[in-house]
């Protein structure tokens, strides 16, 4: 797999405050990469160094297996966190301009813009001025402008913020499709559920440091399946089993966290002996739990 983005021990400080500290990551072609972390963790700072808007104080940024260069940006589509469009320009003109700026011919840019607007269900807004459109629609236009030149590397800073669920789904599906075509997608978010659903690999950032990174499956497998959900009828005496660290008990349902390296099967045997068990599930930890567990008390609350 070709490595499209590689950061090696990259650091960036604003004034006295360190925004990114010795961060390393790798993004391969054909993958969806999630950069996640709480607000102010350094996600945007990291992205800006990848697209060359800011320079790292230390460390190395490589794009397409070469040291960072302006010319590589032609192959990158970048959607910044703070959206900006020319308010007075008509939608089609705006898209053609941004497409031309990224190397397309005017006619080709117009053709692609129309196709994309149809696909994003804003085909009837082509002749409207940008300032006349709703925020969600403007965001779609910006989304399209990022993709017009068919970039191999798509970088989106909080692409779904402020969108309704229908449009969020539309954008997510589009990104998944682009990934399947072999493009690499990097997006940042503070919403773990989105990442869990979409990403092949992640980098979890907290206070400018990568606290967790790698393939999604691999990361999850690193964490024990120590969550158990039991649905039962009858007595709940099995909740006193020595393997259980703590539990929450609702009517006929118990959420259990096991002690490290505890034997879940022994718990099941005990439970079956005393009660009627309708469901016994070993749950893998959610990303959110992993995050909380990893960051622990260190997280910026």
């Amino acid at each position: 797999m070709e490595v499209l983005v590689e950061l090696e021990r990259v650091s960036k400080a604003y004034e006295q405050k360190a925004a990114v500290r010795e961060l390393s990551l790798k993004i391969e072609a054909g993958t969806m990469f999630g950069l996640l972390g709480p607000n102010g963790a350094g996600k945007t700072s990291t992205i800006r160094m990848i697209v060359g808007i800011t320079l790292p104080d230390a460390g190395k940024v490589s794009l397409f297996s070469k040291p960072w260069a302006n010319t590589s940006l032609r192959r990158v589509g970048y959607l910044p966190e703070e959206r900006g469009l020319y308010k007075k320009m008509k939608v089609l003109e705006q898209l053609v301009f941004l497409g031309e700026l990224r190397g397309l011919g005017a006619a080709e840019a117009a053709r692609r813009a129309k196709t994309w607007c149809e696909r994003m269900q804003i085909g009837d807004s082509l002749d409207k001025k940008t300032e006349e459109l709703s925020k969600g629609m403007q965001q779609k236009i910006q989304f399209i402008s990022t993709l017009l030149h068919d970039p191999e590397l798509i970088i989106m800073d909080e692409p779904f913020s402020g969108l309704d669920p229908v449009n969020t789904l539309l954008l997510q599906d589009t990104l998944v499709e682009l990934k399947k075509q072999g493009n690499a997608v990097l997006f940042s978010t503070h919403r773990m559920d989105q990442v869990e659903k979409l990403c092949d690999a992640i980098c979890l950032v907290n206070r400018g440091e990568a606290v967790l990174s790698g393939g999604m499956r691999e990361i999850k497998s690193r964490y024990e399946r120590n969550h158990v959900i039991i649905q039962y009828e009858g007595a709940d005496g099995f909740l006193q089993h020595p393997a259980i660290a703590e539990y929450k008990s609702y009517a006929g349902l118990a959420e259990i966290r096991l002690k490290p390296h505890a034997d879940a099967q022994d718990l099941l045997r005990t439970a079956v002996a005393t009660s009627k068990i309708t469901k016994f599930e070993l749950v893998e930890p959610s990303l959110e739990e992993i995050f909380i567990e990893t960051v622990g008390g260190r997280a910026d609350a």
Binding site: E15, V51, G52, I53, T54, L55, N70, L73, R74, V76, Y78, P80, E82, R83, G84, L85, Y86, K87, K88, M89, F97, L98, E100, L101, R102, Q142, S145
Partner: protein, 418 residues
């Protein structure tokens, strides 16, 4: 990259040329200018016309007649002159009444006192600030006294008229060692027009550039632009685009002025196209050079100012800084006009912010050595380029600072980066 610069220039140009503001100013400014010129022309006519109906009151009939003759002999003489010599009290009260009713502009009272050569004179008019009437009367009275004297010496009325006729003095100038006809009032017309046009366009388009830079900062669109184009492309493109807008508008106005200037109406008013401004070919040749040079220098400065502020309101405060070198140039104008080759004039004309106006003034007054002209143009061009480079850097740093100032080491690090 040139392609990006041109793309950005095209976008900036089209957005402005298509805007309503462009259409409105393109139409309204000439109408306004035309209106001002028309009013000025009317005012001028009134001043020249100066005297309307008036009367002369005197105890000396001969002197009164000669003053009347002197007034009527003038180029822009009064419409009518009535003589009351001597005047009765009834005449005087009637005259006062007519002044009050604005039937006559005023009356001149001349009284000779026995034993004194000069009479006493009073100009009574309906206005307290009728200084034109007063000056005219002064001339007429001394003229009248001379005429009276000439009459007693036996000259005829016609001889006297011929002798006391006003003589027109024409002017000429030694230019490049050759005596050429000059027109003291018109030889600086080119410089005045340059100042007016430069000042106006810097105010309008300079502020426009600064605003559009600030707008890009506040709308954050620069982040998209910077991920594909370099800040130099952006700045240069913006400057070229906005500049082209300004030049388009000026071209429309110039075409309009030439058309109107060459029209029958204008010719009937004594205006014969651009030549009536008294511009020589050399002055015409250098006009666009210094205008465009000055325009771009100040536009680049405006862009730099725009990059360093974070809100549109601050742009207004900066507009004074922007035009202050122009104001200084205007203040220095009279000095340079009179001393075009003094050290101060030479030095000032070589300093890029002052070059457009001061060097052009010098060219209008007395052609400076060619090396000075070319040096000033070269310095101007270099400083335009330098200013674009600098403002691109300020833009690059300024847009990324969310309200906080960049420290010097940060700035330096940015300057190294392209």
């Amino acid at each position: 990259m040139l392609r990006n610069t041109l793309l950005i220039a095209k976008r900036e140009y089209l957005e402005r040329v298509r805007s309503r503001v462009f259409r409105i100013t393109t139409i309204l400014v000439p109408i306004g200018m035309g209106g001002i010129a028309l009013l000025g022309g009317l005012g001028g006519k009134r001043m020249e016309a100066g005297l309307q109906n008036l009367a002369v009151v005197s105890n000396s009939p001969v002197l009164a007649q000669q003053v009347k003759a002197s007034l009527e002999n003038r180029e822009h003489g009064p419409k009518s002159v009535q003589v009351f010599a001597p005047a009765t009290d009834a005449d005087l009260s009637q005259l006062n009444q007519r002044v009050a009713n604005r039937e006559i502009q005023g009356y001149l009272t001349l009284n000779t006192v026995p034993g004194q050569t000069l009479p006493t004179a009073t100009w009574t008019s309906g206005s307290s600030t009728d200084f034109i009437g007063k000056t005219q009367m002064q001339g007429a009275v001394s003229d009248g006294l001379v005429r009276q004297e000439l009459l007693t010496r036996g000259l005829t009325e016609d001889q006297i008229n011929a002798l006391t006729k006003e003589i027109k003095v024409s002017t000429s100038q030694v230019k490049n060692g050759v005596v050429v006809k000059s027109d003291t009032e018109r030889s600086f017309a080119g410089a005045y027009v340059l100042i007016l046009v430069l000042y106006g366009s810097v105010l309008i388009y300079g502020i426009n550039i600064a605003r559009s830079v600030v707008e890009e900062k506040t709308s954050r669109i620069f982040e998209v632009l910077l991920s594909t184009a370099s800040p130099d492309d952006l700045m240069m493109g913006k400057l070229l685009g906005v500049g082209a807008t300004g030049l388009t508008q000026l071209a429309i106005w110039t075409a309009l002025a030439v058309a109107v200037g060459g029209s029958a109406l204008a010719q009937s008013q004594g205006i014969h196209g651009i030549s009536s401004m008294g511009l020589t070919n050399i002055e015409l040749l250098y006009f666009p050079v210094f205008f465009i040079g000055g325009f771009y220098l100040y536009s680049a400065l405006a862009a730099a100012l725009g990059s360093s502020v974070s809100a549109e309101q601050e742009v207004q405060q900066f507009s004074f800084i922007l035009v202050s070198p122009l104001v200084v140039s205007v203040v220095m104008m009279v000095y340079v006009m009179q001393n075009p080759s003094s050290t101060a004039s030479v030095v000032m004309s070589l300093l890029p912010p002052f070059t457009p106006i001061i060097m052009y003034m010098r060219i209008c007054a007395q052609m400076p050595p060619m090396w000075q002209v070319w040096l000033s143009i070269a310095l101007l061009a270099a400083s335009v380029w330098g200013m674009v480079w600098l403002s691109a850097r300020i833009y690059r740093v300024g847009v990324l600072m969310y309200g906080k100032r960049a420290t010097l080491p940060e700035m330096l690090r940015w300057l190294r980066y392209s």
